[in-house]
Symmetry: C2
Subunit: 354 residues, 2 copies
């Protein structure tokens, strides 16, 4: 399929590179492709960024049949534009699509669409250290119909947003509230899919945690409220008594691409990662025994986010004196080094756009 | 607040009353009201039905922060227009809003908005037996922003759809597939809220059940996969050994307004309803002992939907020889009688629009 390109005749003013924040500015163009039952995905096009016209009865607004992805394009010091494992995001699109009964998209074509769009808006990619171009592919159900059933029409859309450095003033470990009241997802549900429902269900817990001075919540499993799942928009890793542990993927947590990369990276450095269930009691017991050496989150937004404190049922524990530890540092430096082109990409993780 | 009215200059052709189906035709007007942080809900207006212009980064499309309701307006044989307990729907809006961190809406104002809109499109209310005007209030988060947090802006919208009779060829009991793989909702999650996430999570199970010849799935609790929750878009009732039982509201099922009305109605007729947890084993044991007299669903769409067959792990049981039972019949006739104005409304459930 050929992607048609219609350029804007009215380019926007670009925002100040030092004040980008996250997800609030959007570039001049977007990618759109339609799906119609019987016809398949068709009419891929890059067009000026503009409001979508959606019928008020449009199914996504009523039944949440929608999925999304998040990845970034980085400008290297040599001026190259790199993507980090974009095929993994497109594979996850299809895993999410299967769960939400949305038709699959060809992985290679999806990556091509991302690249073409990034090329068109290449001038929007910021180059201050730590900045990048956030890429948000998403799919929405568009039938104008109120019955509960999968839609027969969809739109696959990609939008781009220049984003600021996550750590402007150095890496500050976060304070995490262990949630024992609200549940994000449960086995048999939607937890492993990157779908709107999981974020809707997280809002209330997040607001309450913020209120109490915590950055994010750590979710426990929905069945026993015992096993550690993930944090906000990050997977979690622990170093306990020298062993690196991350919760195994059991259907209720998102299989993060940074998680996968962290596991592969550590393995290659001779540091094995154990993927298994780990309970919050075990974490607290390890801390009590002086064996909880590190805790950190992994995700596209921050790459690595060290965790300095947990609060579980009003019991607070501090990890590694509230400082980033050596494993988190090493992973952070390697992944961001590869993304920024400053380190050799021995894994073949990056794809060059330009 | 005053509701401004802008009438369409281009009214649509009305659909054939005998071929309305459900949720596929929409009237000439819609109600919209905006929310902005600091300003509250404002600018309530009735305007011509038209597409919404939504920024592609609009939060509802990414994080599913949205809720909805469903109720009906009925035309009586005397030509009056009645609503059925609309204040209960608006109360449920606020319960859903609280869970989704959406600002509340004044219940009386919400009911007034529904009435005003129905009046403007009164000519759209069909009058063939069993037909009605379906009313869909909904709220969507509209910030053009990709960070995960509650939106600062929202739209409350009401649209109307003339719908056909649910039972055109008499009441036919449905076949229900007991779902033991997928989970709709779990305690601590969103189950009790009427929010898009719960419907997104139901689609795959529903499609698979349809494939195997079943109308809908019966959800079991997400923790033990043991206790009966609800069916598709209906709550469930059983008559076992003379006792009427419906699952108690424990946070994971929708508190249906038809469920509430059924309980109140039966109570007034001297038939108590026990609200308690009931396991699928208990249901099957009751059937084996010849004591499962009736099973039926309750919901706005069909009012009562008798269940003729269950399939749980490939074990099928037939209820009441696949026919509607006396309790389901009585509830159906009373509620539809009150809605259509043919029976006296001893409960004060209806509100007159015109
Ligand atoms: C719920 C959740 N968990 C984990 C992650 C981390 O995934 P990734 O490393 O692919 O960004 C994300 C996404 O960013 C997320 O939304
Ligand atoms: C999941 C679910 N359960 C139950 C019901 C029944 O609720 P009500 O009787 O208020 O229509 C509905 C809605 O119609 C529903 O969507």
């Amino acid at each position: 399929m050929n992607i048609s390109i219609t350029k804007t005749t009215n380019p926007k003013q670009k925002p100040d590179q030092n004040d980008l924040g996250f997800g609030q500015y959007f570039t001049d163009h977007m990618f759109i492709m339609d799906y119609t039952e019987g016809k398949g995905w068709h009419d891929p096009r890059i067009v000026p960024y503009a409001p979508l016209e959606l019928d008020p009865s449009c199914m996504v607004l009523h039944y949440g049949q929608a999925i999304f992805e998040g990845l970034k394009a980085y400008k290297t010091s040599k001026g190259e534009i790199l993507l980090f494992r974009p095929e993994k995001n497109m594979e996850r699109v299809n895993s999410s699509n299967d769960r939400l009964v949305i038709p699959r998209i060809d992985v290679d074509f999806g990556v091509k669409a991302i690249k073409e769009l990034v090329k068109v808006d290449v001038d929007w990619i910021p180059d201050a250290p730590g900045t990048s171009l956030y890429i948000r592919p998403f799919i929405i159900a568009t039938d104008p119909y109120l019955g509960v059933r999968p839609s027969n029409t969809y739109k696959f859309i990609i939008i781009l947003s220049p984003v600021g450095a996550y750590y402007k003033e150095g890496i500050n470990p976060v304070k995490i509230y262990v949630e024992s009241n609200y549940v994000r997802a449960v086995k048999g549900g939607l937890g492993y899919a990157k779908t709107v429902a999981n974020y809707a269900s997280s809002l209330k817990a997040q607001v309450e945690a913020k209120h109490s001075g915590y950055t994010q919540v750590l979710w426990l499993d929905g069945i026993e409220k015992k096993y550690i799942e993930e944090v906000g928009t990050m997977n979690v890793f622990f170093k306990i008594d020298g062993e690196i542990i991350t919760p195994s993927l059991e259907g209720s947590i998102l299989p993060g691409i940074t998680r996968m990369s962290t596991i592969e990276l550590l393995k290659k450095s001779g540091i094995p990662v154990t993927e298994r269930r780990i309970s919050i009691e075990e974490l607290y017991a390890a801390h009590a025994a002086g064996k909880l050496d590190e805790a950190f989150g992994t995700g596209t937004a921050a790459v690595i986010s060290p965790i300095g404190e947990f609060n579980w049922n009003e019991n607070s524990i501090t990890v590694n004196e509230g400082k980033i530890g050596p494993v988190a540092s090493k992973v952070y430096e390697t992944i961001t080094g590869i993304q920024s082109g400053d380190m050799e990409d021995a894994f073949g993780w990056t794809q060059k756009v330009l």
